[in-house]
Amino acid sequence: MTLLLDAQGLQKRFGAVVAASDVNIAVQAGERVSLIGSNGAGKTTFVNMVTGYLKPDEGRITLAGQDITPLAPRAITHLGVARSFQIPQLYGALSALDNMLVANACHDRRLSFWQPARRPEAIARAELLLQRFGLIDHRDRRVSELPGGVRKLLDIAMALTGRPKLLLLDEPTSGVSAEEKFPMMATIMDALGQEADTTVLFVEHDMDIVERHASRVIAFYAGRVIADDTPAVALAADDVRRYVTGELLAE
């Protein structure tokens, strides 16, 4: 096992709010880590810091030994980190296919002034991913008109085009209907399985999904990590049961 992501002593405050307080997280290549926590615990903030959208007030983040703390999202993306978003970030006026083509185009770092974006091989590649995510029926629809769940999937599919080493998913299943959640998560994990050893961190509120798909659980509360263990152990911890799953009454 090799250490892929290493966050040490992350601190982040927004005014009076502590969004990260001495967060230490190390992730080995190939792990499937679920981030859980109450609302406002700092999960998204953690993802934002890893991907360079926010700079930690203190602390250091390394990716495969390289310090990525000062880098911007684009640079970090080029190092093989991709993410999806709690609120899907798509190109609303473009079709689903075009969204995928943009993802493709951006991934090739040398953009061309004359090579058509809609050339057959690029379309084929985009369609392959759409197919894999069951989105092919929506290929030509303007994405601002797509239902929420479909947008979520498209958001994730775009994150995957670059064949990332590390994939961060922010609540991939929230807002997705109950029947579709599990198949969808299965789809994502399948799609990942076909890309070699992608490491995944996913933020999740549904404990069934956490139990089924995570090899490890990190629980947040008020900016702190309150548990970091296998799902079985972490979900049984008192703090987690009190603050996250609500199985114990908060004091």
Partner: protein
């Protein structure tokens, strides 16, 4: 209380609802269940007057809503919690809750606040924080509180549990359940049944903008 009869709604050129009907009886809790894109949000937005049905009618407490301007619904005692929360980032939590109370002459600020804080005491400690600082889940809570503040007769809740951590979603469930037996009726739009199964008296399933199996809920 609320009666929707065969409404057809198109958003731009996309037909989102095709002949949907549904009733919320006085004092009951009704679920509107459907997959993503089935038309739940569209239904609620149509009730709130943001979309105009091309066919069909919507009655509330015997009144045809089609003739009313958008803002008159709140006055009738309908509280709406939009899917994307829709808080005003510059305002504090308490001010956000109060916006509908201020514009409604029939409501008293003190009373409504007291009610909201009684039902959702965790809001007390964040009442002076600006809404922009809240996390997604916290914002849901505030949006629910705001709907409660004005919704004296009917609450329209759009995916109240989406993106909410289990602990909080339990709380939300309790709060909503606590409304049972009061004069307030509730319509909850949901794609995920897990949270609301136990809550609702009746359930309407919607698929591609039309009813599937209107029926009475199983308890």
């Amino acid at each position: 209380m609320l009666k929707i009869e065969g409404i057809h709604v198109a958003i731009q050129s996309v037909v989102a609802l095709r002949g949907l009907s549904l009733t919320v009886a006085d004092g009951t809790m009704v679920g509107l269940i459907g997959r993503n894109g089935a038309g739940k949000t569209t239904t609620l937005r149509t009730v709130m007057g943001h979309l105009a049905p091309s066919q069909g009618r919507i009655h509330f407490a015997g009144q045809d809503l089609a003739t009313l301007p958008k803002h008159a619904r709140a006055e009738l005692g309908i509280g709406y919690m939009p899917e994307d929360r829709g808080l005003v980032p510059e305002l504090t939590v308490e001010e956000n809750i109060l916006v509908p109370v201020w514009v409604n002459k029939a409501l008293k600020v003190d009373q409504r606040l007291a009610l909201v804080y009684r039902v959702l005491p965790e809001l007390m400690e964040m009442k002076d924080r600006r809404a922009l600082l809240l996390s997604g889940g916290q914002q849901k809570l505030v949006a629910l509180a705001r709907a409660l503040a004005v919704g004296t007769r009917l609450l329209l809740l759009d995916e109240p549990f989406e993106g909410v951590a289990p602990a909080l979603s339990k709380r939300l469930g309790e709060v909503i359940a606590g409304l049972k037996g009061t004069e307030i009726s509730v319509l909850i739009a949901q794609s995920d049944l897990n949270h609301s199964r136990k809550l609702v008296d009746a359930e309407f399933t919607i698929e591609r903008g039309a009813n599937v199996a209107p029926g009475v809920a199983a308890h």
